[in-house]
Subunit: 575 residues, 2 copies
């Protein structure tokens, strides 16, 4: 028997569900409604459209075979009805109807449904400050906004921009403006770091340093307090607590909130922060109403708790699960790892699972293995250092997350994707140690970086490797009196270590070449706590084991070594 | 209490075990013996040394911090004794001693052991044909051979080469010779395809086509029957059943065999094909003797059966497991997926798990989902098509393998590595569908290629997608009389389809634009079996579902579409 399906929202989850369901139940009448005229677009591509990498906005709305996904496409090619410029006003759950209004004609109608899907997406959060309504102030809310931004840039109307918000979209927009249009761009982030909650502070710092090298001005712990009017209703500047920045374009990218007013008004369960609550089959509290995409609350596969993951990739997967369940094929969406990846100029940054900071806050016996291996065989010509961090629980030995920062290529994808698959299966450090990464020198090392990170984690759990906290070490370098007993033990080649020894003196910075430790360890004073360092941290660990065995030395390893330190923009020699 | 450990073999598994064990048990006396003077080298880097990508062989023996790993390094830096140029002659299991001989001095000694490790590696298989002993004939057995090959090339002594064996090493060597030295190179492979057992025939064919475009001459189903003498003991040519090839360099790369004579002579269990039998803790049939690396038989995680996987990456992981067990930390090596990846000029080819052909032979209810998606968002500038194939069991829905062929970058690493992790956990099609690949347009699609392949597999299992076998379709294109009822239904843009329609006639090659199917399906004769095709196969599946629903049409989908066909080197238009 044919059923009537109504889907509210036609960007990602909605169209995916509609088309899949039409294939599963070709007889059913499926109607999508969306208040926008442009539907089914790749919103994540907006920064690349603004930058010019994607030349026309229509490419974001086109199939891989270059056909625009508009209402006619859905009707003719997919057998799905799409009502655009049509706003859903209310849901009558008893009568099972949705009241919709055409935004052009004002005509209203009731759409009856047997099953309803909410794919209402998210809306950008607006800062509650004066001036947000000025001309030249944009949130990346939809394609229209992107088109307008690019038009202004192309017309030469933009020479200075301020991006408010240092999340992924803010950073991608800052890159687009700076790199390809040469616009003087400033990025503001209220949190103490970029990409808050997505990566730990040292990863954010490495990213920030690279962005600054690429001429993006960045202020953290700082946001806009007022947007300034040029007297004619156009934005001309941004005020913060510390400065006033000139700007003829302001991008608001301070996060998004689920669009769940409709769900709430219909009496469905909605989390206090706005996410529509769903079960694993993606049913709302009304079993005839499903929800998916940026409007729902999802479950973290790491913590088991409610979280928010507004990503186009998840929306598509969730949409498919909704279609299966509506069609009568039971299907579940268990939750999310929270995989994230981003290009930032010539670097790539990515993470999956949760950060060390989040893991501590969640009450895990959390620790992290920070490493800095090559992204392929160290003898292969175009190899480069990548910074990897495995976050794990010391007690259960479960891996909780992986973060990476390296060159702009796909090598980080490989590690983060492989990790996400294993984390979703509750993979342990030991599983990561044995993970069979495909090996050939142009792609990886014989001991892959992800295996090596797991080995480090294992050595930490078994108390063979004791690390110094990175921030504690940096604080000591700033003010050595806080730990009067500490000294660096530098295992690098004497020529690398020499300038540091010269600056700090041999008492604070002892150089002992790795290859000489077994012969010359007796020269080391035994009354110090050594911070052992080298370039990557591997030699430091070996030497710690050796010193421990002697039983006369106290030491800590600087995990990730100077490869990490140099990427943080710290150089005590030039200070 | 200190123990004595002897390790026979010091290339990959041996050194890894030795160094790890020294850290776990710093008091133990660990001695490695190796008959070679050069030890602890990255054998997989040999083709890149020969090509010149790696300029000096010492780089293959150096740490990431540029120190050569020789006997002195192991002694001074690692606390491990290494006896080079020392051959192990026999094992006395009762007395627990190994008799070794120094190959330079001839001096013999008995090395006592508490625990022994065999890391004797593999030796290249020599073809039993006349002329293998001629000057200029090389197997890639060790670094010395590689050094000699490169020396001859650099001296301009090589203008024509024949590589015997179309496995990974043979192909990498053929690339090294052709690409960087301009040597006229011919590759011979006795099997009907390159990379036999590693990939299915169509992947091998795509690879072969690319190699041929890059000027490597390839003959499959053909091997050397004789190597020809120039009258002065130097090779001057290679005879096969079909031709004689001139050659001043012959590389034998017809596979390797475990070196297990020592194990066999000592009465340890050895498989008939030569692999030393070990349990999951990598103990041989004598619990005091462990074995790891290219000399052992391992277990396939897919079939549960004995297999052979001589790879440096596995050797390292196994070596670590041996060390843990020797030290008293129980540790297991469960088996291998068989992950494999290779650069071939401007392409990358990779696989994990087992092939479709192998899965059928193993008695699985095997099938494959062949797809040809973009390797990143299809609107992103440098995107390119990648060919992916998921092999699965229809009954259990377990994924058995993944193969990929695409551009030379790391995007294939990401898919194969993520797959290997899941396959090792007995991942199903549904697990692959939900695998959370990190998404941003420069790296992936919103629906990642690996998710999409799983969706295809799911649709096949649920009988919504019925594919035509690729080889059956190609046979029909060669001789249409074998299936007189078949016709192509070409869904591509009419301009793409037109030349085919013109050549074959509308009865055999019907063009119907994807967007017009719902409006014009009535024009299609109902007495045909349609092979539906498009570029990638996605539209074809959708149209099959639509036609099935009408109940009047019989059809099959050409999975992977013309993207696959064109990469096979098939073009019926120019025939």
């Amino acid at each position: 028997m044919s059923k009537k399906i109504v889907i509210i929202g036609a960007v990602a989850a909605g169209p995916k569900a509609a088309c899949r369901l039409q294939r599963l139940q070709p007889d059913w009448e499926i109607t999508m409604v969306d208040q926008d005229s442009l539907i089914s677009y790749g919103g994540c591509g907006i920064p690349y459209y603004v930058s010019g990498d994607v030349s026309d906005e229509s490419e974001l709305r086109a199939t891989s075979f270059h056909v625009i996904r508009d209402a006619g496409f859905f009707e003719n090619s997919k057998g799905v009805k799409a009502l655009t410029r049509t706003r859903a006003l209310s849901i009558d759950r008893k009568e099972k109807t949705v009241l919709v209004e055409n935004l052009d004609s004002g005509v209203r109608q009731e759409l009856p449904y047997d099953q309803l899907m909410l794919a209402t997406g998210a809306k950008p959060f607006d800062l509650p400050i004066p001036g947000v309504g000025l001309d030249g102030v944009f949130a990346i809310a939809d394609l229209h906004k992107a088109i307008e931004i690019k038009k202004r840039i192309a017309q030469g109307k933009v020479s200075r921009a301020v991006v408010i918000g240092g999340g992924a979209i803010g950073i991608e927009m800052a890159e687009a403006l700076t790199d390809l249009w040469g616009i003087e761009t400033t990025l503001l982030e209220l949190a103490p770091q970029l990409l808050p909650r997505l990566v730990d502070w040292h990863f954010a710092t490495m990213l920030q340093k690279h962005l600054e090298e690429k001429s993006v001005a960045i202020f953290t712990r700082e946001s806009a307090t007022e947007l300034l009017d040029d007297g004619q209703g156009k934005v001309c500047g941004v005020k913060t607590a510390h400065r006033t920045l000139e700007a003829d374009l302001v991008i608001m990218a301070v996060g998004v909130r689920p669009r769940s007013e409709l769900a709430k008004a219909a009496g469905l369960d909605v989390a206090p922060w706005g996410g529509i609550k769903v079960n694993q089959r993606l049913q709302t509290s009304d079993p005839n109403i499903y929800a998916a995409g940026d409007c729902i609350a999802v479950t973290s596969l790491i913590t088991g708790r409610e979280t928010y993951a507004p990503l186009g990739s998840l929306a598509n997967r969730e949409g498919r699960v909704v279609a299966d369940n509506m069609a009568g094929h039971p299907s579940v969406f268990k939750g999310v790892c929270g995989s994230f990846i981003m290009k930032a100029f010539e670097r790539c940054i990515a993470s999956t699972g949760i950060t060390y900071e989040a893991a501590l806050a969640e009450g895990f016996d959390a620790d992290y293995a920070l490493t800095s291996p090559s992204d392929r065989a160290h003898f292969f010509p175009d190899q480069a250092v990548v910074i990897l961090q495995l976050v794990f629980d010391r007690k259960s030995r479960r891996v909780l997350g992986l973060q990476a920062f390296g060159m702009m290529n796909d090598s980080i994808s490989a590690r983060v994707d492989a990790a996400a698959g294993l984390i979703a299966q509750d993979g342990t450090i030991e599983d990561f140690g044995l993970l069979e990464m495909a090996y050939a020198p142009p792609f990886s090392s014989a001991i892959d970086s992800i295996n090596a990170a797991a080995y480090v984690a294992e050595n930490m759990c078994d108390n063979r490797l004791r690390r110094v906290d990175l921030d504690r070490f940096l604080a000591w370098m700033d003010n050595m009196s806080i730990e009067p007993n500490w000294a660096v033990l530098d295992l690098r080649h004497p020529l690398e270590a020499a300038p540091y020894v010269e600056k700090y003196g041999v008492d604070l910075w002892t150089a002992l070449d790795y290859g000489q430790v077994r012969a010359r360890y007796n020269e080391l004073p035994t009354d110090k706590t050594y911070v052992i360092l080298c370039n990557a941290g591997t030699r430091s660990y070996e030497v710690q084991v050796f010193l421990d065995h002697l039983g006369k030395f106290d030491s800590m390893v600087l995990c990730g070594g100077l490869n990490v330190i140099s990427r943080l923009g710290v150089d005590w020699l030039v200070k």
